[in-house]
C-alpha cells in the first residue's frame, strides 16, 4: 500500500523547440536512424503506459498575425529557428515533477532539443469558452 496518495492525472503539454533541420543537419544517416528509433521508443513507451495522449510534429512554415486589426501578418520561419515550436506531446500524468522527469528522458536532448513543460488548465483567466459547446471535456478518474 502506498503511503502517499497519488495525485490524479492531469494534462501537460511538452513543446519541442530547436528540433528543426539545422539541429540535425550534421548527423550521419545512422545517427538519424537511431534518433528516430529512440524517439519513437520514448513516445511508444509513454503511450503504452497511458501517459501520452497524443503527439504531433508541426510544419516549420509559420504565419504570425498581430496588430490591433490583425493587419500585421508575417510569414515565418522565425528569424531564430531555435525558437520555433517543432512539435508537441500531450501527457496525462501525476504532476509537474513527473512530466519533467519524462521530458528529461527524451533522446533528442542529446542533439540540442529544448523541451518546454506546461500544465494545461481547464479555465481561461479571461473566462473565455475554450471548448466547443456541448462537448465539454471531463476527465474521469
Amino acid at each position: 500500500m502506498p503511503t502517499t496518495p497519488t495525485p490524479p492525472p492531469a494534462p501537460y503539454m511538452l513543446f519541442f523547440r530547436n528540433s528543426g533541420p539545422d539541429t540535425h543537419q550534421h548527423l550521419s544517416p545512422e545517427q538519424r536512424q537511431q534518433l528516430v528509433t529512440r524517439w519513437n521508443a520514448w513516445f511508444e513507451g509513454l503511450v503504452a503506459e497511458g501517459k501520452a495522449v497524443e503527439g504531433q510534429p508541426l510544419e516549420l512554415h509559420t504565419r504570425i498575425v498581430s496588430g490591433p486589426g490583425g493587419e500585421r501578418v508575417v510569414d515565418g520561419p522565425f528569424p531564430e529557428s531555435k525558437e520555433a515550436i517543432g512539435g508537441y506531446v500531450k501527457l496525462l500524468v501525476g504532476g509537474l515533477e513527473e512530466a519533467t522527469a519524462i521530458a528529461q528522458r527524451h533522446p533528442g536532448l542529446a542533439y540540442g532539443l529544448i523541451i518546454e513543460v506546461r500544465q494545461m488548465t481547464p479555465d481561461c483567466h479571461l473566462g473565455v469558452n475554450t471548448k466547443p459547446s456541448g462537448s465539454r471535456e471531463v476527465i474521469v478518474h
Partner: protein, 439 residues
C-alpha cells in the same frame, strides 16, 4: 506497469537496419535522373532535406507503413521545386518549365516508378565508377552518394580529415561535370568495359575495408558490407548479371565469412592456421559458394574467379593441415599469368612453401620479378621471417620480423609481429610452432 499492447492500434512501422543510409543511394539515383548528373550536389542537398523532413515527421508522428515511398515522394517534390527555382533563376522561358512539369509531375504507375528507381541507383553506380574518375576518388564518391556515408565517417575510415575528403569530393564532382558524363546504362561493347570498371571499383571498396591497414575497424567492416550490398544490387539487374560479377561477389562473401576469426581477444591478427574455424560464418560461405557456381557459367575466367576459388578452398578445408595447397598453387599460377603482380607472386610462394618446403618458398620469393616493389611492404618480411623460422634459422627470422614490424601500420599487425619477434628471439623452438609448419 505497462499493459499488454495487444489491444492497441497497429504499431508504427520499424525502420530496417541502415534505412537512412541505404535510402541515400536510391534517392540520389532518382534525383539525378530528375535533375541531371551535373546537378549531383543539388541532388545531395535535396535528399538531405528529404531525410531531415522524414526525421522530424517520423520521430513525432511515427514511421509510415512504407517509409521508402514516403521519403521518395518528398524528395521528388523537393527536387521539382529546386528545378523550378533553378530554371527561374537562369531565365529559361516558363513554357519549358510547364512542359517539364507535365512530363514529370504525372503520377507514374507505382510499379514502373519502383522499377525506374532501382535502375537509377545502378545508373548512379556507373557514374561513380566512370573511367574518367580516378579509382580512389570513385570509392570515396560511391561511399558518399551511393552508401550514405557522411564525410566525417569517410574521413575516419581513411584516416583523413573531413576537409580533405570534402575537397576531393568537390573535385570529383567537377570532373564529372567537365567530362559531361551521362546518366544512362551503357550498352553493347561499352557495357563490358564499363562493367569491368564498376567491378574494379567495388573490389577496391571491399579491399579498403578488408585490409585493415588504417582507421576505425568497425567502419572498415561496414565498407566490406557496403561493397557486398552494391555488388548484389548490380547482380540483381540483368545488365550486371554476368559470371564475373558473381565471381566478385563470391570472393567478397567467402572472405567476409572469415572476419569473425581474424583477430584474437587482444585484437591481435591471427594467421589462417591459428584461426578458430568454428567462428567462420557458414551462411556467408554457403552464399559465396552459390555465387561461385553461378560464376562458372560460361567460359570467362577472371582474376575474381581465381581469387574466389582460392578463398573457397580455404573455406572448405576442415583444418589448416588438410588444405588443398596443390589446387591453390594452380590457381595462383593462373592468376599470375592473367594478372601478374608482386603480391600475387608472394602468395604463390607461400603455396609453394607448403607443398615443397620452406627453402622452395624462399627461392620462389627471391625469383619474384620486381621484388623491390615489395621491400617496403611488411608482408614480404613477415613471410620471409616465417620461412626462416621453419628452417630453424632463428636469427634470420628475428631480423625479418623486426623489419616487418617497423613497416606495419596498424595495431593488430604490429601486435602479431611483435609476438613473432619475441618468439624467435626467445631461444630454441618453444613448442608453439604450428604442426602444419613442421615438415
Amino acid at each position: 506497469m505497462s499493459p499488454a499492447s495487444s489491444d492497441r492500434p497497429a504499431q508504427p512501422a520499424q525502420l530496417v537496419e541502415h534505412f537512412f543510409r541505404h535510402e541515400t543511394g536510391r534517392l540520389h539515383g532518382a534525383l539525378v535522373r530528375l535533375l541531371g548528373v551535373h546537378n549531383l550536389t543539388l541532388a545531395e542537398d535535396v535528399a538531405q532535406e528529404a531525410m531531415l523532413r522524414a526525421l522530424r515527421t517520423w520521430s513525432m508522428g511515427g514511421v509510415p507503413p512504407n517509409p521508402s515511398a514516403w521519403i521518395t515522394q518528398v524528395a521528388m517534390n523537393l527536387g521539382r521545386d529546386a528545378l523550378r527555382h533553378q530554371r527561374m533563376a537562369s531565365g529559361k522561358e516558363p513554357a519549358l518549365i510547364t512542359h517539364h512539369e507535365q512530363m514529370t509531375a504525372t503520377p507514374a504507375v507505382a510499379w514502373e516508378a519502383a522499377h525506374e528507381i532501382r535502375d537509377d541507383a545502378l545508373r548512379l553506380m556507373f557514374v561513380c565508377c566512370h573511367p574518367e574518375v580516378a579509382p580512389d576518388a570513385q570509392v570515396i564518391l560511391a561511399l558518399k552518394v551511393l552508401c550514405g556515408f557522411s564525410t566525417a565517417e569517410i574521413a575516419r575510415a581513411f584516416l583523413s580529415t573531413e576537409a580533405a575528403i570534402e575537397k576531393q569530393l568537390t573535385r570529383t564532382k567537377q570532373r564529372i561535370r567537365d567530362a559531361g558524363i551521362g546518366f544512362e546504362l551503357p550498352e553493347g561493347e561499352n557495357l563490358t568495359l564499363r562493367l569491368n570498371g564498376v567491378l574494379a571499383s567495388l573490389y577496391l571498396l571491399f579491399n579498403e575495408g578488408y585490409k585493415a591497414s588504417s582507421g576505425d575497424r568497425l567502419l572498415r567492416e561496414e565498407l566490406c558490407r557496403e561493397a557486398i550490398r552494391l555488388t548484389e544490387l548490380l547482380i540483381a539487374h540483368p545488365v550486371g548479371r554476368i559470371p564475373r560479377a558473381h565471381a566478385l561477389l563470391a570472393l567478397m562473401l567467402l572472405t567476409a565469412a572469415r572476419f569473425p576469426s581474424r583477430l584474437d581477444e587482444q585484437g591481435s591478427l591471427l594467421r589462417l592456421h591459428d584461426q578458430d574455424r568454428s567462428k567462420w560464418d557458414r551462411a556467408l560461405i554457403a552464399r559465396g559458394l552459390l555465387h561461385l557456381g553461378e560464376a562458372a557459367q560460361g567460359g570467362d575466367l577472371s582474376e575474381y574467379h581465381l581469387q574466389a576459388g582460392i578463398a573457397a578452398i580455404h573455406c572448405m578445408a576442415d583444418d589448416y593441415a588438410s588444405t588443398d595447397w596443390a589446387r591453390i598453387l594452380r590457381h595462383y599460377d593462373e592468376l599470375h599469368r592473367i594478372k601478374p603482380s608482386p603480391i600475387v607472386a608472394l602468395n604463390r610462394a607461400v603455396a609453394i612453401a607448403h607443398l615443397r618446403g620452406p627453402q622452395a618458398g624462399l627461392d620462389a620469393i627471391t625469383a619474384i620479378p620486381q621484388r623491390d616493389r615489395l621491400e617496403s611492404h611488411y608482408l614480404l618480411h613477415a613471410v620471409v621471417g616465417e620461412l626462416h623460422w621453419r628452417l630453424q634459422d632463428e636469427r634470420a627470422a628475428a631480423e625479418s620480423f623486426r623489419r616487418a614490424l617497423s613497416l606495419a601500420h596498424v595495431g593488430p599487425e604490429q601486435a602479431f609481429l611483435a609476438r613473432m619477434v619475441e618468439r624467435t628471439t626467445a631461444g630454441p623452438d618453444d613448442g608453439r610452432r604450428p604442426a602444419a609448419w613442421k615438415n
